[in-house]
Symmetry: C2
Amino acid sequence: MFFLTPVLVAVVCILIVWIFKNGDGSSKRRKGEPRARAEVRPWVDEDLKDNTDLHQGEEGANDRQESEEDVEHIPFSHTRYPEKEMVKRSQEFYALLSKRRSVRFISSEQVPMEVIDNVIKTAGTAPSGAHTEPWTFVVVKDPDVKHKIREIIEEEEEINYLKRMGRQWVTDLKKLRTNWVKEYLDTAPVLILIFKQVHGVAASGKRKVHYYNEISVSIACGILLAALQNVGLVTVTTTPLNCGPRLRVLLGRPTNEKLLMLLPVGYASKEATVPNLTRKPVDQIRVIV
Amino acid sequence: MFFLTPVLVAVVCILIVWIFKNGDGSSKRRKGEPRARAEVRPWVDEDLKDNTDLHQGEEGANDRQESEEDVEHIPFSHTRYPEKEMVKRSQEFYALLSKRRSVRFISSEQVPMEVIDNVIKTAGTAPSGAHTEPWTFVVVKDPDVKHKIREIIEEEEEINYLKRMGRQWVTDLKKLRTNWVKEYLDTAPVLILIFKQVHGVAASGKRKVHYYNEISVSIACGILLAALQNVGLVTVTTTPLNCGPRLRVLLGRPTNEKLLMLLPVGYASKEATVPNLTRKPVDQIRVIV
């Protein structure tokens, strides 16, 4: 009896510790992960980083391959300019685009809808992974909807700023306020909300993976910004942090669409100012090999 | 003595199990994670999805806030066109961009380097998160380096295609070969490799988080594509799968730069063809609210 007791106690202890550690470990991982992520990535928009599109695996891979091989190829015709004209065109386009600035002071004056349609059509000429064209441009003109969008964004922005600033900053609330009050969401005659379609639906009814959808839609946005600058309208490129799901529901977009960007569009207001920033010279952004 | 032994054994056992479980748990998590990711996301370029930029937390947040508030604001001046001219400009820009196609048949004829410089300067006018300008454009003209790039990309592409196709496809190797042979990497007079800088270095020597760097660099690429089309040069937007790290090392770029895109640039070759694809009409990509 006295000889067995230490062995028994040892076995019981091993079992207890084992059970305790296992239970603790799994609950720690399950509960701990989202919390750890929130702490480590305070400035990542969870909706933007939504990886829904990555979990479909290879479902659509064959569809894609087939569509690429089925399509007939036709001769490509293109305008070729003399060298001197190429140089001139490249200079003029640079001069036009280099005047573009992110403008937060937008006049309430209406803009021609034909122009808005044309700039969106231009954005739609962007290339996309496997020609999926995974973009939806929601043009909001309705003042009530614009105001609801403003309410959602300001609410989330306030939370973002207060969380981020911590105690030392919150003392000067008045100063901070300018950062999350987005008047342009009411005043701009048009808001363009750009959604990326993280997957599509194939003819078979199956989900079709949209490879590189975020990159494709961002490229389309780059072309949209160039098109807006070309017609003399201004905007500011915003990525409303954590507002995606609420704005998606407000605008009645399907769950395969995730908000990527919001552009308030209009004429610059007369008193518009911009930060006095400069851009890097070409030899700091370009390397020749 | 006999009374103390069970207690001693219990303490020793608890310690042994504790140490064993702790060691096991952490090694399990470290080894298991990358494998699980590789299985779930077979078609994600691991280098593109490199989240290095997300692990710095708030380190740079204050730097950003300060830099935004320190900058002086100046009046914004902008060209405003009459409404009729706006409509005309929007139509013309759409007409120009709608002729853009991804062209894989590129002539070996040299292109004016002044034009390449200007289109890169134009791309550099893109907006970026907190004005970080997180892009590097590597212009490769050297035929040996171009050929090394081709070797790396074709090697990886062959693996990608064979893995992806599975057995049923591999029977027709000849047909497949056309998919991973990238002749344009040798023939195009210029390759532009676009790297995103996932973080920068602040004046203090600390890492500076580059928020939304992938979106910013993709927007710059959209503007680059528009600028190329404007001068009559062609390209094809490629995202070489899994080649990023090798190409980065080949070109001697630092570890904070990740390859996002590769654009072979030149004149279209005379026999160039393109797939006979159409684009979605505007009412399929635009919603009005």
